[in-house]
């Protein structure tokens, strides 16, 4: 599958970055995204599952619910990055690092990043 050229939309970006830590279910993902964004992004369930649905369709993540037996009394769906998804997430991290670096270089006081 070809790599995405355009930057990911905000919700997709936060989810693929949150999944770099490993598989997670929906509620854990909301928590990870909130933690990663320092509380700035609190996703609702509609945004979360709409984005997960699109990421699954694009082949960036896959559902892993039935892959291993789980000690989970409630029915939860787990997701993890595919190989392509991981590569895209890493590309996004590099892109964001570059962005921060370039912006920092133009800020008053010079490069600090």
């Amino acid at each position: 599958m070809p790599r995405l050229v355009k930057p990911l939309p905000s919700a997709s970006l936060h989810i693929v970055l949150a999944l770099l830590d490993g598989e997670a279910h929906g509620y854990a993902l909301i928590g990870r995204v909130a933690e990663l964004s320092d509380g700035a992004v609190r996703m609702g369930a509609g945004t979360l599952y709409g984005t997960l649905n699109r990421l699954v369709s694009d082949g960036l993540i896959e559902e892993t619910t039935t892959r291993v037996p789980r000690d989970d009394s409630e029915r939860r769906r787990y997701y993890e990055l595919t190989g392509t998804g991981r590569a895209v997430a890493v590309d996004e991290v590099v892109r964001l690092q570059g962005l921060v670096h370039r912006i920092a270089a133009h800020l008053p006081g010079g490069a600090t990043a």
Binding site: G26, Y27, I30, R42, M43, G44, A45, G46, T47, L48, Y49, G50, L52, N53, E74, R75, R76, R77
Partner: protein, 197 residues
Amino acid sequence: MSGPRAAGIYSGLLRFYPRRFRDEYGVDMALIFAEQLRDEPTGRVWARGVVDLAITIPARHLEARMDRPPNPTVAVVFAAISVSGLVLGIIGGSSLGMLGFGLAVAVVAGGLAVAAWRNTRAVSVARPATERWWQVLLVGVIVLATTIIVVNVVGEVSDGLWLPMVLTLLAGVVTTAAGLILSIVHLIENRPRRVPG
């Protein structure tokens, strides 16, 4: 408002999502909402949930409409035009111009019908070649029929057209035979098997 009651109201609001999305994720969304009610102040969860619903319900409906496969009517219309062209060519076959026009309409409209039909399929799934037996057979029969009609209309084939005509006829015979062989293989591969035990 109690947690279970609030979760029940939220579950009711999920009915506004498109059915497919709701069937796929509705249970998980209700579960997450209940967990948020357990861990956060009710007012904050509701405020976030209502905004989320207001934004994502129209978005999911829009996506559902965009994902809907195109209407096959276009393919049917082009197929009808193609058949009409073929009929016109056969009926007016005494005139070479009419035959050419009819066949040209049949070929062009047939191509557009195939393209439109392919476009109506949401997902292209790799299928074994034997499942395409009817397409091969159809092409073979059309080539054979067209060649025979042209030969009958033209009457005596000139020296320059003799070789292309024979090669076309041969191609029609081979394609028809291939279609028949594929259909037999397809029948054998798909015959009902008895389950042991």
